[in-house]
C-alpha cells in the first residue's frame, strides 16, 4: 500500500507562469505521483502547462495530493511553493 499525503492551502498570490514552473520542477524531483486540485479541476503537478492551465488565483483553495514513498515530503515542498506565490506581475 503506497504512502499517501494530502494538504490544502489558500493562495495569497496567483499561480502564474514562474511559480508553475517551480512547482513542476520540484514535483518532478519526487518519486510520488503528485496532483494539485482547484475546485473540480485536478492536474498532474509535474506538467507545467497543466498547472498553468488551472489558472489558480489569489484566495482560491488548492489541494495537493501525493501517492508514493516520498509523498509527505512532496506535499510539503509543493505547499511551500504555493505559499510563496505572489500576485501576478510579481
Amino acid at each position: 500500500m503506497p504512502e499517501s499525503s494530502e494538504a490544502a492551502i489558500t493562495l495569497t498570490g496567483d499561480l502564474h507562469a514562474r511559480p508553475a514552473g517551480s512547482l513542476a520542477v520540484a514535483a518532478a524531483g519526487f518519486v510520488a505521483a503528485v496532483q494539485i486540485a482547484v475546485g473540480d479541476a485536478c492536474v498532474d503537478a509535474k506538467s507545467v502547462l497543466s498547472v498553468m492551465a488551472l489558472g489558480a488565483t489569489n484566495g482560491q483553495q488548492v489541494v495537493v495530493r501525493a501517492t508514493g514513498p516520498d509523498a509527505d515530503q512532496a506535499v510539503a515542498a509543493i505547499i511551500g511553493i504555493l505559499a510563496a506565490a505572489t500576485p501576478v506581475g510579481g
Partner: protein, 134 residues
C-alpha cells in the same frame, strides 16, 4: 540528477526577437539550469531563417545529452530538416519537435531541467500540442 548533462534546447524562429524572447521566458520558467539557445532571423538580422545560425545554436546548446530543436513554422522547419539530412552537420542526438512554439519551449525547458533525456524532452514538448490555455 544534479550533475548530469542536461538536454539543450534550440528555438528556431523567423524573428530574432521572437526566438530570444521565447528563450528568455522558457529559461525563467524552467529555473535557468538548461541551455536554451535562440536561432532567429537571417544572418543580417532580417526576418527569415539561417542554416548557419541554427547549426551554431545547436552546437552551443549541446552539453553532451543532446539537443531538442523547436521551430516556429514554415521555413524554420525546412531549415532544420535540411541540416538533419546533412551527415555530420549536427551533433547527436538531436530531435525536431512538432509543437507550439511558446508552450513547447516551456514544457521542454521544465523536462530538461529535471534531467529528462532527449526522448522525455521531445515528448514533453509534443504533449504541449494538447495543452489548453483556458
Amino acid at each position: 540528477m544534479s550533475e548530469q548533462a542536461r538536454v539543450g534546447i534550440v528555438l528556431v524562429s523567423h524573428s530574432s526577437a521572437l526566438a530570444e524572447g521565447a528563450a528568455e521566458l522558457a529559461g525563467q520558467i524552467g529555473g535557468g539550469t538548461v541551455l536554451i539557445v535562440p536561432a532567429g532571423g537571417t544572418e543580417d538580422g532580417g526576418i527569415g531563417t539561417s542554416e548557419a545560425k541554427v547549426r551554431k545554436a545547436v552546437l552551443a546548446a549541446n552539453a553532451g545529452a543532446g539537443v531538442l530543436i523547436l521551430p516556429d513554422l514554415g521555413s524554420s522547419v525546412l531549415t532544420v530538416r535540411f541540416l538533419l539530412s546533412e551527415p555530420g552537420a549536427l551533433p547527436e542526438p538531436v530531435a525536431l519537435a512538432d509543437a507550439p512554439f511558446v508552450e513547447g519551449a516551456v514544457a521542454a525547458a521544465v523536462a530538461a531541467a529535471v534531467g529528462g533525456d532527449i526522448k522525455a524532452v521531445l515528448a514533453a514538448a509534443e504533449e504541449a500540442r494538447n495543452a489548453r490555455k483556458l
